[in-house]
């Protein structure tokens, strides 16, 4: 199994060596991690190299790549690495209650761009880096799903 490279929430990680997975239900990914005489319930979801492991109540993003997948991904990244415009996406689903920028605005990194209300709370979506707004695709009153593109920064 040493042919897998693992990243947990973006950081390289060594798998616990003394642990094995017993799968109880392949449909839902429910299983148990066995270490000596103790068992920890887990859920492993996702497919291919992108998995989400639910452990002690926490959903943990794990990337498990074979060497082949890793080389392919690096090649892809190299091809896409010119510094182009970036999309600002919704970090949670909800109702857009305010849009704090219009096309042409120069914004600082961390500036509030969109306010999304979900479950009684207002949440700010901020600029990931400084730049100029080149497109605004949402307006107040509209609902958005997680990951929906809302603005583009150049």
């Amino acid at each position: 199994m040493s042919d897998f490279e693992v990243q947990v929430e973006g950081q390289p990680v060594e798998a616990a060596p003394d642990v094995r997975l017993l799968l109880d239900d392949p449909v839902t990914g429910v299983g148990r991690l066995i270490r000596g005489d103790t068992a920890i319930a887990v859920i492993v979801e996702g497919s291919g190299s992108d998995r989400v492991v639910t452990l002690r109540g926490r959903r943990i993003a794990v990337s498990v790549r074979s060497w082949r997948e890793r080389i392919l991904a690096e090649a892809e990244r190299a091809a896409a690495s010119h510094a182009g415009p970036i999309a600002v996406t919704a970090t949670l689903p909800g109702l857009v209650v305010a849009v704090g920028a219009t096309v042409g605005d120069e914004v600082e990194e961390g500036a509030s761009l969109v306010t999304i209300e979900a479950m009684k709370m207002q949440n700010e979506v901020r600029a990931p880096r400084a730049g100029r707004v080149i497109e605004v695709s949402v307006e107040p009153g509209q609902t958005v799903a997680t990951g929906a593109a809302m603005l583009r920064l150049e």
Binding site: V6, A16, R20, T54
Partner: protein, 505 residues
């Protein structure tokens, strides 16, 4: 004396439940046990929801937006009319404390399972309720008993930190903390603007911020004949931004003397209004066990279940019965609470990202059962969670001989809980039951802010275990993708897959 046998027939033939989620399911169960036909309502988002499936029938009340469905007085009344219901149970939240709704229900000739509209109107103004409590001889949090005007010196005299609160707010909404005099003017302007925008009423009052303090509330049940039952207190101090996460009864902070004082104050506050229904009087308790009135809610509380477990009284069934005019029996007027009960709330929230709401598809939904465990759930496996509604998925309650046994039972129950597809607060709750402050009952309303960092980092042990789980899964799968018979299958899980596939085929 008996809950059921002294009625020749059910209190109502049909009852409409103007709510959704776990509380709608709870009321449906009470209806079933009382012989009442429960009628649900649903927005277009809920056509497939669990409360719709469990009811005898369900009426569509509008599009997903709460304002056009669960908050629409007109739609709810139309649904009641169409279904032939004689009574409406509002649950909690939504229209449960809306005086206009209570009045409209009464005007339509139906029974509102709740207090008279006037009571809701008077208690809905927190400032008026504060004055009422003070005049009844009940201690209130030091502060103003009239609306704050522009006399900032008068407000500053209360002392800092202080809270500015909207008179029309409540339930943790419409509050703003002010730490020093120089921020007061700006904060007051902002608080008024927020109050106007959220409640249509800019009246604001000021209270000293009590800290450390515990949030302790008293459960009441009143009938139409002047009988008032006091069913014990609940400690709801494990909060985050005034949102309760854990509730227990009895309170670890309340001794016999404090309990007597709390119950006396709760009775006095209840005496200031015309009241029949389940109700809760909320207090803050300071480090010297002095209590201060906060507000009174004349509706069912999310956390009513722990009181039901400790007293053996079915609060929802009696809420419906007193609405029909029944008299509370002696066994309820002199309750005998037993043991210790704790509730934790399972929310679709991410405790590792400041409790941000989460959404998605619940793939795994495994809840505990067995001795002393109660689950009130509003979802099931394969439910798709939407962001329009409250993120409360289920309430997990335990009851045991005493508090240490209840904490041990809660830990066991959380260990049996397994939820997939959506981030919940289950991991936070599991962390909590191992904290010495919680085990000793020595926590206050600032506990989470102090001990749970907004962005709890993943520890190296969890990371290496998660890595092992993901690798273990990939290693079990054939290189080409989807599961099939591996060379050395563990257990008979793959056999089960084959059976599942065969059944579907």
């Amino acid at each position: 004396m008996s809950l059921h046998t002294d009625r020749p027939r059910p209190p109502f033939e049909r009852l409409l439940i103007a709510n959704r989620g776990e509380i709608a399911v709870r009321v449906i169960r009470a209806c079933r046990e009382l012989g009442i036909s429960p009628i649900a309502v649903h927005s277009d988002a809920d056509v497939d929801a669990i409360h719709v499936r469990q009811a005898d029938a369900s009426q569509r009340i509008g599009p997903p937006s709460p304002a056009e469905s669960y908050l629409s007085i007109e739609a709810i009344l139309e649904a009641a009319h169409r279904s032939g219901a004689q009574a409406i149970h509002p649950g909690y939240g939504f229209l449960s404390e809306n005086a206009d709704f209570a009045r409209a229900v009464a005007d339509a000739g139906l029974t509102f399972v709740g207090p008279p509209a006037e009571t809701l109107a008077s208690l809905g103004n927190k400032l008026a309720a504060r004055r009422g409590a003070e005049s009844a001889g009940v201690p209130i949090v030091p502060g103003t008993t009239v609306a704050v005007d522009d006399d900032l010196d008068g407000v500053a005299a209360i002392g800092f930190p202080l809270m500015l609160k909207a008179a029309a707010g409540g339930g943790g909404r419409g509050m703003r903390r002010v730490d020093a005099e120089d921020g007061l003017g700006e904060a007051l302007v902002a608080a008024r603007r927020e109050a106007v925008s959220a409640f249509g009423d800019g009246t604001v009052y000021a209270e000293r911020l009590l800290a450390p303090a515990r949030h302790v509330e008293v459960q009441l049940l009143g009938d139409r004949h002047g009988n008032l039952a006091v069913l014990g207190e609940r400690d709801c101090s494990v909060q985050r931004r005034h949102q309760k996460l854990v509730e227990e009864t009895p309170s670890p902070a309340v001794d016999l003397e404090t309990r007597a004082a709390l119950f006396d104050s709760a009775r006095r506050v209840a005496g200031t209004v015309d009241f029949h229904n389940a109700a809760t009087v909320e207090f803050l308790l300071d480090a010297e066990r002095r209590h201060y009135f906060l507000e009174m809610n004349t509706r069912l509380q999310v956390e009513h279940g722990v009181t039901e477990m400790a007293t053996g009284v079915d609060i929802v069934a009696w809420q419906i019965r007193v609405a029909a005019g029944d008299t509370l029996p002696d066994a309820i007027l002199q309750p005998e609470p037993r043991g210790h009960a704790i509730e934790v709330r399972l929310y679709a929230e991410d405790p590792y990202a400041d409790f941000r709401p989460s959404a998605g598809h619940l793939t795994v939904w495994r809840l505990p059962d067995g001795p002393g465990v109660r689950v009130d759930a509003g979802v099931e496996a394969d439910t798709v969670l939407r962001s329009e509604y409250d993120p409360l998925l289920a309430k997990l309650m335990v009851h045991a001989e005493d508090r240490p046994a209840a904490v041990d039972r809660l830990r066991r129950a959380l260990d049996e809980t397994l939820i997939g597809g959506v981030q919940t607060d289950a991991g936070f709750l599991r962390w909590l039951v191992d904290r010495p402050e919680f085990i000793e009952g020595a926590y206050d309303t600032g506990f989470i802010a102090e001990h749970w960092p907004a962005g709890q980092r993943l520890g190296p042990e969890e990371a290496s275990l998660a890595a092992a789980a993901a690798i273990g899964m990939r290693a079990m799968e054939p290189a080409t993708g989807g599961p099939s018979q591996p060379a050395a299958a563990e257990g008979s899980a793959w056999g089960r897959t084959a059976r599942l596939e065969a059944r579907r085929g």
